[in-house]
Symmetry: C2
Subunit: 571 residues, 2 copies
Amino acid sequence: MLYSKLFGKTTRTAPSEEKIISAKLLYQGGFIRESTAGRYYLLPLGLRVQQKIMQVIKEEMDKAGAQEMVTPVLHPLSLWQETNRDKSTGYELTVVKDRRNFEFALGATAEEMLVDLIRKFQLSYKDLPINLYQFSAKFRDELRARGGLLRVREFVMKDAYSFDAEEETFKKEYRNMWQTYSTIFKRMGLKTIVVESDNGYIGGEYCHEFIVESPIGESRFLIAQENSYAAHEDVAKFTKDEKNTQEALKPLQEVEAKRGNTMEEGVRLHGLPLWQQIKDVLYVDEKNRFILAIIRGDYDVNEIKLKHLVKTYKLRHAREEEIRTLIHSEPGFISPIGIKKNLDKNVQLIIVADDSLRTIKNAYGGANKKHHDCLNVNIDRDFQADIEGDIAMAQAGYTSADKNSKLEEKRGIEVGNIFQLGYYYSKKMKGAVFTDRNGQEKPYYMGCYGIGLGRTMATIVEKYHDKRGIAWPKQVAPFDVHLIGLDLTADAIKNRAFAVYQKLQEKGIDVLFDDRAEATAGEKFTDADLIGIPVRLVVSKRTGAKIEYKKRSEKTTALYELDDLKKYLNF
Amino acid sequence: MLYSKLFGKTTRTAPSEEKIISAKLLYQGGFIRESTAGRYYLLPLGLRVQQKIMQVIKEEMDKAGAQEMVTPVLHPLSLWQETNRDKSTGYELTVVKDRRNFEFALGATAEEMLVDLIRKFQLSYKDLPINLYQFSAKFRDELRARGGLLRVREFVMKDAYSFDAEEETFKKEYRNMWQTYSTIFKRMGLKTIVVESDNGYIGGEYCHEFIVESPIGESRFLIAQENSYAAHEDVAKFTKDEKNTQEALKPLQEVEAKRGNTMEEGVRLHGLPLWQQIKDVLYVDEKNRFILAIIRGDYDVNEIKLKHLVKTYKLRHAREEEIRTLIHSEPGFISPIGIKKNLDKNVQLIIVADDSLRTIKNAYGGANKKHHDCLNVNIDRDFQADIEGDIAMAQAGYTSADKNSKLEEKRGIEVGNIFQLGYYYSKKMKGAVFTDRNGQEKPYYMGCYGIGLGRTMATIVEKYHDKRGIAWPKQVAPFDVHLIGLDLTADAIKNRAFAVYQKLQEKGIDVLFDDRAEATAGEKFTDADLIGIPVRLVVSKRTGAKIEYKKRSEKTTALYELDDLKKYLNF
């Protein structure tokens, strides 16, 4: 490719509001341009990188036995209704009507589409396992787009769906995809940490994120010593240390408590430790049920854990007037004790207790009326939880679940994820069955596996850049070689530069050739560093019959004969 | 690929309502499955064919100097509003709102998106010409989907957009794309006829369709001897033969005419030829203007030609009550004579005359009241047209415009099209300018170029099949070789078949290997014929140490050593 002809040249400036380095460099290098927030054009250079990423993924998925196919982008909404996901995905799903008022969802993920496809076939256990994948445009109506390709509203995803006869063979496939993903990211130069994570609206029982450590990542996760355990904050488990569990139970007592609404004011008023206080957080879910989450005072509620425990998908904080008029309690003084006695008619309230309340005795907290607290509150004796479990947010410094180390907190960018789905879809969608060895119809045991291509591209830039620009790993670079011609107004040099360009291409090497006559040497070198192709070659007056060779990642240059380049460029 | 593992196996049955042979064979061969009407899954075999088609297109587009990139699928509707295409495309355009009520169009074609992209750059004449193309999902909310991949509502299109400094260089690019398209289709085994055509809602002054002749095609076109002229019925010109132009004008006369509403009844009543009658067709356009189209009685009105002449984009026939109460005329008795005198207030009527009215004298037709006709009607003397031009539908047997031959009618499938756009978009969209040699800002001179991949696939099947199934041309076949193993229960034969499979793959040949133990030889041969891979190889007890070789398109088989296959399979 002649650089003079390339559409999307470099620019020194970048949108001033852009703080994310990958967004800045991909813009300046001429890889991407924004259409509307979160929707990008991939310019020729950017598309080349995406195609390289696609190729790596395709090779490894094929090697792993998966088969590529493709579904329509518009999914009949009726399929999403079969699994209730038209509701559980919330606003992120975009719905569109055609001229006949037939409703479609813009593809966000394609579980239902794949199940609907496979149930069109009469498959038997002999046809299984099957793993089908596609590359296609996906749509997420994110509340906020940010950071170039890191969080967008439209992107190309590789999504794969596996169908097994039973859990055991599925577990092999899950492992297979796990290893395939590790290989894929490794080939692209990305070191990933595999982290237990939440499945969001995807469903199933467990899943893992592939995370590349980065301070700008949106995924916060906790990790135990030597990576023996790694989990996203939304699912991370830890050991809740015993506090005063040896203490004898004291009689429940209601006292006057002229204090403000915060936990700290409770601590100050009663002169007791924060951990002995009960923290009460009142939510309302999508069915208008009130959910009272109670937890040891030094812990915070993790809403994702809470949602899973309650089996709900939307939570909001209760409003002050709701607390007063429907619950007949008082903001800042809520208590599980007797709270259900004063509920307004038709109000349903579920008390969800974190198991950390078992690590303390004689706790204190509100009394459901203003300026009144209870002392010596004890679970089971003074109140009962409807649901008890783990709803606590893990933090750095907490003891790991196996008690062997302290948890460390890290941040990173999620570049891929793998999900066990089990029977989540195949039991909700009628007819998603195969015939087993005994001629019986059985539902498929499923998994799904995703990689966002644009985010992967941005993550590579986050990891591979310096102050002069991008430094692409070879495997995903838009070109193999950036050839610079200098002094091109001299015919002899120009001819030689074009001859080198020709020769390299004949050898099957992808070359971006900066053939501009009017640009200065400085401009050309600066552009090469910004674009970040792994190898830079220079043909100029100074190089004579030789060619200057330099790696983008190194500082030294060397002069070689064209033939000597063979060993550096593998031709 | 092992056939036993392939997702999407053959089936003998097909949807009973399916009449189109390509739809049937692609279904039976396991290439496609329908999701909802006009939206298809491409199964692994089908996707492979599409990727082969894509590869041919990519190679030729790159060779022609075009650059691949990609736009978002969701286009800001505001861009379509800049060119008024949000209205002119009618129902085919699907509009969707995001959670912030921002409106998008589902990409149907991408002229506005490309113009919006290019105006983000400050380009000069030195950067031109530029030709950018993409492969991406396109959406057309067609009233009717039909025939598998022939007319769908969602498909992958290769769309390209060229930007030139001036008309002259554009003409070269148009020629370049014309030749590139011819090469592309030729490489895929398709013989195309290039036909002048209508630009629909795309705009511009001229365009051409690449049509593959086929009785099931939706494109009807007229062709002159030795292809000296070929044009779609919507634009086809012809010579309107002189009738009684030598006759002297006779006085206009109104007579009683107790007849029905058809042309034939007029002929019968007056005993005069059909061509001497005036045909009046009354339409209403999108601005509620009435358009009275008048034409020689033996010709029909072509609504596309009429739309262009009137510069309108939607026409419907006027209803009977509108004719009576707003126009104060009578269905079947409409006449241009004096029709404007009795219009209801606020009614606008435009009289559009086909130039064929110049080929007759003393015509006859309605008199704007029931059971009354006019005789000896003559244009200019008795009525004036607001617009005069060619609105006649060409038919087989008519004389060509150059008068050298009779037109012949053909039908075909439109697989590609190329459009001159000129300044149609760049003048409507502010800022779509480059800097010319003199530092002046000038709008781009544009063209665009499309190929539908799915329709191309279906067309290839229409041309390459026999009663046993598909016979793919090599260039687009899903695999190079269909290897069949027979007698696989014998270990020696099984090992040999797998060894051949292995060996061919090592040579870089794409092999579909029918390794099923339980299927009969007959089933395997039938499947191979249905799927249509160009070369069939058989390893069986009977073939011994040799391999049976057969082309899908031929009947004869031959036995070869593996090494001998080199010259047939090019390894």
